[in-house]
Symmetry: C2
DNA sequence: TAGTTTGTACCGAACGGTCGGTACAATACT
DNA sequence: AGTATTGTACCGACCGTTCGGTACAAACTA
């Protein structure tokens, strides 16, 4: 059997890139085919369930990325400040310093919101829960920790929206820089 | 000339509602026709330039809404606290307490971002500028005022994304409630 | 070891359907 | 009557998807 031109992981990454910059509905198979170098028909080998399948696989990758770079570090033992710092550094890389859109954000607009509702909710909830846990370890009471966690995730998502809309990554980069001190003084 | 079944203003509102909840690409002419109760031909009577025209008219309405409820109040004389409070109250109504998505946010994902890039940028910039002005009047120095304005807009947009993704308007409502005190203590 | 089979990777072409958009005759109002 | 408004039929382009294959390397057979 022939070796694939691209390992599946690479194909998934390219599909994800298209979703992130065009949204789910804007990511047509023609564009995905172009981005991956595969024919439209070949995409059905990698993703037998079609476009929805692509969305789910991309969300799989996102979930495990979150597990490794966000939920994991936040849940460890050790100084909360350092755990949060690790999360922030990973987010900076993931979003390319604010140049890349958030996949979760793009999926929450349009029909894809209803299509992936459960999974989006789960990922955001897990993120907020983990962050709230670290803030509680840093001394916040339960309620304040949760509120600050929600607010922090909102600020990050909003800064990414703003970066896209205004072609200005400044607010996002500043936010990541300040968040360490802000959250755990 | 016969009175139109719906005044144009009402048609525009309904088109805007579809854009807000389905995104620009997800807002198909069929759905817009259904939402307005008009046939496709009639839509081209109201919007001779087609879908892009609809987007621009909806952005016209958004701009004048911003002028009346955000830029105007923020630019007035009077206590900054009160000016900001007025903006927050209007935003709460516009976004239906967090239940409705942000039009600007949905337009920044997908092809509509490039299509309306200039106008989106202008609206966000104007919003941030006006808010920074009020914060300066409240005593912040130039730099801090601008940074807090950017962060505030990001928090609002992010809270709306979160509300959509998690079906939870809590963080948005709390944000609006707290923002008055946070910004002008 | 030569030949056959099998299974994966891939693709061109075409499917039915829907997209945004147009032409035009009928309708409804002044 | 004359004109603003609208329903219907239609268009080409593109949508996501499927079909019928080809290329090729590993596995199996003789």
């Amino acid at each position: 059997m022939p070796a694939p031109l691209l390992p599946k992981r690479e194909v998934v990454d390219r599909v994800m890139a298209v979703f992130r910059e065009r949204g789910f509905e804007g990511a047509t198979l023609a564009r995905i085919a172009e981005a991956t170098g595969l024919g439209k028909a070949s995409l059905y080998h990698y993703f037998p369930g079609g476009k929805e399948d692509m969305g789910n696989v991309v969300l799989d990758v996102t979930e495990s990325w979150m597990q490794e770079h966000v939920l994991g570090p936040l849940g460890e033992d050790g100084p909360p400040r350092q755990r949060i710092g690790r999360m922030l550094k990973s987010l900076d890389a993931l979003y390319d310093g604010g140049n890349a859109a958030c996949l979760l954000g793009t999926l929450t607009v349009g029909d894809s919101r209803t299509l992936f509702r459960k999974r989006l909710q789960w990922i955001f909830d897990a993120w907020i829960d983990a962050l709230a846990g670290a803030l509680r370890d840093a001394g916040s009471d339960r309620r304040a920790a949760r509120e600050r966690a929600e607010d922090t995730v909102a600020r990050i998502e909003g800064a990414l929206i703003l970066a896209q809309a205004r072609s200005d990554t400044g607010p996002f980069r500043r936010l990541l820089r300040q968040l360490g001190d802000d959250l755990v003084p």
